[in-house]
Symmetry: C2
Subunit: 283 residues, 2 copies
């Protein structure tokens, strides 16, 4: 989706689209990262902490009601106020009866020009745990987590049946077209690779549209959309373009079993030789 | 390359091509998996253990001499006879002075119809260690290892400057064209993903040509070639087709530093939360 400055406008858009999707047969609705607001991390501004909300709160009640009303499981991405000075980038999953099925706090926090997330988000402390819902176990991760095979692997080993990435990534308009192509290709490749190595479908939902940076010298970010769904061999089942879209995609959860029989990567892992993964660097 | 049944014919081809590559400016030569013989793992036959060679031996002396003569570093892939009943699938790296710089024993061993490697190869016991050469630290892995992000990650954390995969993978002629496409795309995607997540170039050299299976019911394997080189953003620098080819490709080892400054994935790893990677499965 493309966001406005108004939380109620964004939520009203989500409500309308969710009802449309439900009518088209959706059982699971995935929203993009931080869908209630513009992407406020383009600069470091203490006032933006006012956007954070407790969980549960009136805000989560909105999604709880929407999930119950549409009888769908909804994966949201919210700015969580946990305590004064402790804020998280948190995915809250609502089950189709309106209850909170679970939450995931973003574990890998980026920080680079235009994405000052280390200022806003305390690194998650809930680990990598799939969330049990009435539709199955969802391996919900968030944005920057998508670059880490470790996160996808642990979710898989814990029984996740789908990997899900709400995300907000875009182009710096100063980059060359060649660099933009490399970035978007790399972003698709790394996420498809999690599908392949784990034999599991991947759903990635990205923000769309240009958001001006009003608080610093840089122009802003052109969020590149391109949300996609890949099957357990990394094959593309659906791919959006740069524009906003709400669409129902069929995913066959039984295909993982078939693919893992032929590509038994999980069988041959050398777990007794992976200890060094736990090191920062080996000098 | 495409292989014949004759070891001396295969070695003679390698010698001719290596000299040609040297004349074209090559400093590093990568050969495909088990380049001295046909891919003998299509069936389980104890007679094939006769193909294994000790390291060092007359056979490795051939490559030692070739490396010295061409003053190039050569990455070979040999069937190692270590002791009666202990055989490995081993990459031996020769430095440009003809010395053995180091070896890597294939850690992840596949076993599926047509690739009965668990019968022939004892799993490697040297761990994941880059090999220091006069050209830098080479992260040499072999074929099935390419599906494991863990292997690529450990090589990177230990200072590898390149990831190198000699490989032998092909199509089962019974597969549909759609399945073949999914396989070759998945194979490229997973290896490009190691480049991306680790900010490191990847070189993959695959066998080419059809090899008939003379010892069982299945037809044989059409090795799909498609050797490629990717830069540290996963961008393709060179891609072969299904035919044999020997070609010099430029790789800029300094690009990793630049890419890792902008994509600092190694900085943000949550190493204190990765312990579960060491488990087989978490029930």
């Amino acid at each position: 989706m493309r966001n406005s400055d108004s939380i109620s406008e964004n939520q009203s858009y989500i409500k309308t689209e969710s009802k449309k999707l439900k009518n088209e047969g959706s059982q699971l609705i995935i929203l993009q990262e931080l869908h209630d607001t513009k992407y406020f991390c383009q600069s470091e501004n203490v006032a933006h902490f006012d956007l954070a909300i407790p969980i549960p709160s009136d805000n989560t009640n909105f999604y709880s009601k929407l999930a119950k009303e549409t009888q769908t499981v909804i994966v949201t991405s919210l700015f969580e106020k946990r305590a004064p000075g402790i804020y998280h980038n948190t995915a809250v999953v609502f089950d189709s009866d309106g209850s909170i099925a679970g939450k995931y706090r973003k574990m890998h926090i980026p920080d680079d020009p235009g994405y000052y997330e280390k200022f806003y988000f305390t690194p998650g402390d809930l680990g990598f745990n799939p969330i049990q819902t009435s539709l199955g176990k969802l391996g919900v991760l968030i944005c920057w987590d998508q670059w880490y095979p470790e996160a996808a692997r642990i979710m898989t080993l814990k029984g996740a049946e789908l990997l899900i990435y709400p995300t907000a990534i875009g182009f710096d308009n100063d980059d060359t077209q060649a660099e933009k192509n490399r970035q978007i290709e790399a972003w698709k490749t790394i996420q498809k690779s999690h599908a392949i190595t784990n034999g599991i479908p991947v759903i990635t939902v990205n923000r769309s549209g240009f958001e001006k940076n009003t608080e610093s010298d840089s122009l802003g970010i052109s969020f590149w959309g391109n949300s996609f769904v890949a099957g357990p061999q990394g094959e593309i089942l659906f791919e959006a373009d740069i524009n906003p879209i709400s669409k129902v995609i069929d995913i066959d959860l039984n295909s993982s079993e078939q693919v893992r029989r032929w590509w038994p990567f999980l069988r041959d892992r050398r777990i007794e030789d992976y200890d060094e993964i736990l090191e920062r660097y080996i000098d």
